[in-house]
Structure formats: structure tokens, C-alpha cells
């Protein structure tokens, strides 16, 4: 017994060490920088300075909420129908969903630039039809589109995973007890797929709110999100302290958002997460 306890401790040790070095220590460093000035003495000035980025915070929050919501709207029915297909069709669809994820994020985003830019594919097509070119790069829509495109698989996969575990017999039982399609959705499918929806939201919302690359490329330099501000503070302005302060607040914002989502989903017995 003692022996195996010791063994278990030894086996766990590398992971605990890993977590300490690469998760806890960096977090502490962020906190340290956030509360110090360039000379290393304690200050709240960094946090006070954040007020000027209030609008950037709100814009990031707004864009990522829209992106998450639309992603959920697309993914939910898709995941449901996918989970009801035959095994071969499911494998094929799963492959198609994951295929874009095998490509680098940068390349995917550059492709969208090619599609959306002033001399891009869409405007060329419109030009052939004699329609004036549209301005797409540099709009909020383009940035949100980029988020949706890049993070869609992260919403589909967790929802699909829980959906495929729903026994079709339960749907028959519900129908037998008088449930039409809407009632089946509300009372059986939604509550049973809730865990997948929650992790899907987390996996899309979190990278969306902190992205900088998508907004830089598809925002055409006109749209600045909070991720861009952090990147600029650290890469260009070398103001690690302000960058750390923004990161810290962003992290708290994300944690609060997820707490709200969890609370919301857990409270409602009927299980409506978003609907």
C-alpha cells in the first residue's frame, strides 16, 4: 500500500512539476508585472491606465460574443444531423470538419484576405457581373467571419461528441409520450447536449476574445481588439507591465464569462443554454 502510494507520487511528480513551471509560474510573472512599474516597484498605475482601453475591451467582448453565438447557431444543427447519420457518413463529415484545423491559422487567415480584399476573389466575381467592389477587409464583419471560420470546428466537435451519445431510443420514447420535434429538442436533445454546448462556447469564446492575428489581417489595421493592444504593448512598446495588466484583466473577464455561462446552464432545469 505504502509502496504503491509512493509510486503514484513519483508518477505524478513530472506533471505537477510541468504544471508548476509552465502554468503557475508564468501566471505569477504576469501578476508581478501587472502590479509593478518598469523599475520593479509596486504600483497600481498600470491598472489605472486600463480605463483608456475600455472601448477596446467592450469591442472585443462584443465581437467574440457575436462570433460565438453565430458559431453555435451553425454548429448545433450540424452536429445533430451529423450524429444521426450512418457511421461512414459520420466519419466522412468528421474528417471534413477537422480538415481545416490541419492547416496553419496564418495560412487560413491569409486565404480569407485573398477572398475578401479589394482585388480579391469575391470582388473579381462581382466585377464580372458589373457590380461595384465591396469593402470587406477592415470591417467588423470580416473579423467576425474570421473568428467563426477559424473556431467553428471547436464548437462542432464537443457538441457532436455529446450528441452522438444520445440514445435514439430516448427520442422515440419522448415522441411516444407526446413530444413533437420542438418538444423533443427542448426537453431531450438540448438538456442532454448541454455539456457539449458549454465546452464549445468556452473553446470558441476564449480564443475569439483574445485573438490579435485575425483582427490584424482581416481588420485591415482599422480594427483593434484587446489582443492587438497586448501584442503592441509587448512587441512594439516594450511595456511589459501594461501588457501584463491588460492580460490579467482579460483573463478575469474570461473567467467571469464562463462562470456566467455555467451558472446559466446549470440553473435552468429545462436546459436552454442560449435559446
Amino acid at each position: 500500500m505504502k509502496q504503491s502510494n509512493l509510486m503514484a507520487k513519483i508518477a505524478r511528480a513530472p506533471y505537477i512539476l510541468w504544471a508548476a513551471i509552465f502554468i503557475v509560474v508564468p501566471l505569477l510573472i504576469v501578476v508581478y508585472y501587472a502590479f509593478t512599474d518598469s523599475s520593479g516597484s509596486f504600483t497600481l498605475a498600470n491598472l489605472a491606465e486600463l480605463v483608456q482601453y475600455k472601448e477596446t475591451f467592450l469591442l472585443s467582448l462584443w465581437y467574440s460574443l457575436i462570433a460565438t453565438f453565430i458559431t453555435l447557431l451553425i454548429s448545433y444543427p450540424f452536429a445533430f444531423f451529423m450524429s444521426r447519420k450512418g457511421p461512414n457518413a459520420q466519419r466522412m463529415m468528421l474528417l471534413l470538419v477537422m480538415l481545416p484545423m490541419w492547416m496553419n491559422l496564418l495560412i487560413r487567415t491569409y486565404s480569407w484576405m485573398n477572398i475578401l480584399e479589394r482585388n480579391g476573389i469575391i470582388n473579381n466575381l462581382l466585377g464580372m457581373l458589373g457590380i461595384e467592389p465591396l469593402t470587406m477587409i477592415g470591417t467588423g464583419g470580416a473579423v467576425i467571419l474570421g473568428m467563426i471560420y477559424n473556431y467553428l470546428p471547436y464548437m462542432i466537435l464537443p457538441i457532436y461528441t455529446v450528441m452522438s451519445k444520445i440514445d435514439p431510443l430516448l427520442l422515440e420514447a419522448a415522441e411516444d409520450l407526446g413530444a413533437n420535434n420542438l418538444a423533443k429538442l427542448r426537453r431531450v436533445i438540448l438538456p442532454l447536449s448541454k455539456p457539449g454546448v458549454i465546452s464549445g462556447i468556452a473553446m470558441v469564446f476564449v480564443p475569439s476574445i483574445s485573438t490579435f492575428y485575425i483582427s490584424q489581417k482581416l481588420g485591415g489595421g482599422k480594427i483593434m481588439l484587446i489582443g492587438d493592444v497586448i501584442e503592441r504593448q509587448i512587441q512594439t512598446a516594450y511595456n511589459y507591465n501594461l501588457g501584463a495588466a491588460i492580460s490579467l484583466i482579460l483573463m478575469i473577464l474570461v473567467l467571469l464569462s464562463m462562470a456566467v455561462v455555467n451558472r446559466w446552464a446549470g440553473k435552468d432545469e429545462e436546459g436552454g443554454v442560449i435559446f
Binding site: L169, E172, A173, E175, D176, L177, G178, A183, R187, L192
Partner: protein, 375 residues
């Protein structure tokens, strides 16, 4: 039995699956209001399909489904006044016992106070008082079964469909639940359509048994009729044990088989018509050789508790006889058969397939039941 109106009529139903497999062929069945009907047959005989046609999960390729005399083809399951108890119960894992039972009432927007009252009554009815808040997954098989019954019955369906509801329970519990289901049916007066492959279950619970094979009805009758007057060799073999012999009818009330004429109670056959003769193992008496109508050699004896099962070879045909008198293997015995023990059947496509115990092993029957899967 008093004349009651039909609650369900299945008329010339055929069901062909997408892969071209025909599961029901020109199937006809009428079910009277308040009746306990059992669809009995082996896996793949179409009994579950019949149930699903009534529930509305399968649209027949041809034929009409009538409910109370009105055609209900195309009516979706959620609008049919029937409820189903599924083989694997299909309880909702995200709801507790109370909410599972209340499911149908909530859909019909029954007022909260009435829901509480009716669910309470139902819990008492199925002996699950105090289980309201329990997690479904923490219940035993028997308790889950009761919740499934309560969840269906609370909606006061005109017809309750039961798809092998006891198959997942162990033997002891199964016997108890058989009695309970029968009591529930009597108390509520609901029509039960019950699907099983277990002939004993069918015989002991039902008002009417429908023996099915290969998507067609083989025989419809009371359990006693089905057992005593099987219509063909398939039914005779499937229900209980049978010695089925080739024979013919020299004239009314006389049957000729095993090389001799026997007095029987059957008539109405053409002179010398070829027939199948059924003699149940428990209807044969072992007597001293000199008193026997037939004599044969005992080739096997198995002790079954209540009785011995003796295999007797008479001119190559092996009879099974169930008797409380022990006769050792290798001894010669006489057989006595009363006229009412002889049942004469018309020849059918099943003639000659069943009823000889020369390669007998009842393990084969049991094995085939174990490997039985959902259709």
C-alpha cells in the same frame, strides 16, 4: 368472452425495409378493447415491427392501421393515444423519477398541482413512494422498469404497447413483474399489446396469443387453445414440447400413425387425408408392455425435478414422454394414449420439420433464446 369493439385493426399490413427485407406480409390482426394480447415468436418474426407499426414509428408499405375504427396511417407517434414500454426502458437520464413520470403530462400542459397529485398516485401505484427525487441511473432494473410503467400509464393511454419489457430482468424478478403487469392491466382495464419470445410468459399472462413466424400469423387463440389445439407443426413445436408424427385419417374419430389405428376426437378430414399428429409428452402414460398400445425402448432419461423426461424409440421415431414414473435406460415400456391426447392437424409447410426427438437437445432452444437480439 363478451363481445367488445375492436380498438385496433391491422388490415393487410406489409412492411418492407429499405434493404428490401420483408418483415410483415399481408398481416391481419384485430385487438378488442381491454384485451391482453401477446405477440409471440422468435427473433425476426416481425413481432416488434408490428408493435412499431401500431405506435407509429414504422409506416406500413401497404395496408391500413385502424384505431377505434378510424384509419390512423400517417398519424405521427406523438398524436397516437398509445404509449410504449421499451425493452431497455429508455428513461430520461437528465430527469429524476418524478420528472420522468411527469414527462407526458408536462407536454400536455397539465396544471402543476394536478401533475403533483397524479405522479404521487402513480408512484404509490408502482410501489415507488419516496423515490421522487431519485436519480434514474441509481435505480435497480426492477425499479427502472416500474418508472417506465408509471411514465407510460400516467398518460391514460387507450392501448399500452410492451416490447419485451421483462427481458432484461432476472428470472425471479421477471416472475414477480409478470404478476404485477397482469394486475395493472386488470386494474386499469387498458388494452395491452405485449411482445415476447418467451412462450411461458405468453401463456400465463395473455387473454389472446398471436403466434407469429416469418412475418405472418401462424395462429391466434386463447393460451389454452394455442396449447391444446395448435394449428400446424410450427405452433405445436414452438409452444411447449410436442411429438409430431406423420399420419392419416382413415375415417372420422380414427387416426392412423406409428403403424396403428387410434381412437381420437378429431373429425372433418377427407378419407385417408395425410395429417400431422401432435401428442404432448405429458399426455402419454407409461404402462407395462403387455398393456401398451405401443412398445418401445427407453434410450434416454433426464430428471427434471417435477418429472422425468424419457426418450422412447418406437420403430426409429423418438418420442418424448414426461412422467413421474422412473423407467431405466435400456428397458422396454408400453405406451398408452387416451383419445383426447391425440391432436390432428392439417399438413402445412412446416410438416416434417419438427417434433422428432432423435437429435433432441433442449439446450438448443435455450441457446437460441440467449442469442436473441432486438429485431
Amino acid at each position: 368472452m363478451e363481445e367488445k369493439k375492436n380498438i385496433i385493426d391491422l388490415r393487410n399490413i406489409s412492411v418492407v425495409f429499405e434493404d428490401g427485407e420483408q418483415v410483415l406480409r399481408d398481416f391481419n390482426l384485430s385487438i378488442r378493447d381491454g384485451e391482453f394480447v401477446t405477440l409471440l415468436g422468435q427473433s425476426g418474426c416481425g413481432k416488434t415491427t408490428t408493435l412499431r407499426v401500431i405506435a407509429g414509428f414504422i409506416e406500413p408499405s401497404a395496408g391500413d392501421v385502424l384505431f377505434d375504427g378510424k384509419k390512423i396511417n400517417g398519424v405521427p407517434p406523438y398524436q397516437r393515444p398509445v404509449n410504449t414500454i421499451f425493452q431497455r426502458y429508455a428513461l430520461f437520464p437528465h430527469y429524476n423519477v418524478f420528472e420522468n413520470i411527469a414527462f407526458g403530462l408536462r407536454l400536455r400542459k397539465v396544471p402543476e398541482a394536478e401533475i403533483r397529485q397524479r405522479v404521487g398516485e402513480m408512484l404509490k401505484f408502482v410501489n415507488l413512494e419516496g423515490f421522487e427525487k431519485r436519480d434514474i441511473t441509481k435505480l435497480s432494473g426492477g425499479q427502472q422498469q416500474r418508472v417506465a410503467i408509471a411514465r407510460a400509464v400516467i398518460n391514460k393511454p387507450k392501448v399500452l404497447l410492451l416490447d419485451e419489457p421483462l427481458a432484461a430482468l432476472d428470472l425471479k424478478l421477471r416472475k414477480d413483474m409478470q404478476n404485477e403487469l397482469k394486475n395493472i392491466q386488470k386494474q386499469l382495464g387498458i388494452t395491452f399489446v405485449y411482445v415476447t419470445h418467451d412462450q411461458e410468459e405468453a401463456l400465463s399472462m395473455s387473454d389472446t396469443v398471436v403466434v407469429m413466424n416469418e412475418g405472418t400469423v401462424q395462429q391466434i387463440g386463447t393460451p389454452v387453445d394455442i396449447y391444446n389445439e395448435p394449428q400446424n407443426a410450427f405452433v405445436a413445436d414452438f409452444i411447449g414440447e410436442s411429438n409430431i408424427l406423420d399420419g392419416h385419417m382413415p375415417k372420422d374419430l380414427v387416426a392412423h400413425f406409428a403403424g396403428k389405428d387410434f381412437v381420437c376426437l378429431d373429425k372433418g378430414f377427407a378419407p385417408n387425408e395425410e395429417v400431422d399428429i401432435v401428442i404432448r409428452p405429458e399426455d402419454v402414460d407409461i404402462v407395462p408392455v403387455e398393456q401398451g398400445m405401443l412398445t418401445g425402448l427407453v434410450t434416454g432419461v433426464t430428471f427434471r425435478g417435477v418429472h422425468f423426461e424419457i426418450i422412447v424409440d418406437i420403430e426409429g421415431f423418438k418420442w418424448m414422454i414426461q412422467t413421474t414414473d422412473f423407467s431405466p435406460e435400456g428397458s422396454t415400456v408400453g405406451l398408452h394414449i387416451e383419445p383426447d391426447a391425440i391432436h390432428v392437424m392439417k399438413k402445412s409447410k412446416y410438416s416434417g420439420l419438427y417434433g422428432d426427438f432423435s437429435s433432441y437437445s433442449d439446450e438448443i432452444d435455450q441457446l437460441s433464446e440467449l442469442t436473441e437480439e432486438e429485431e
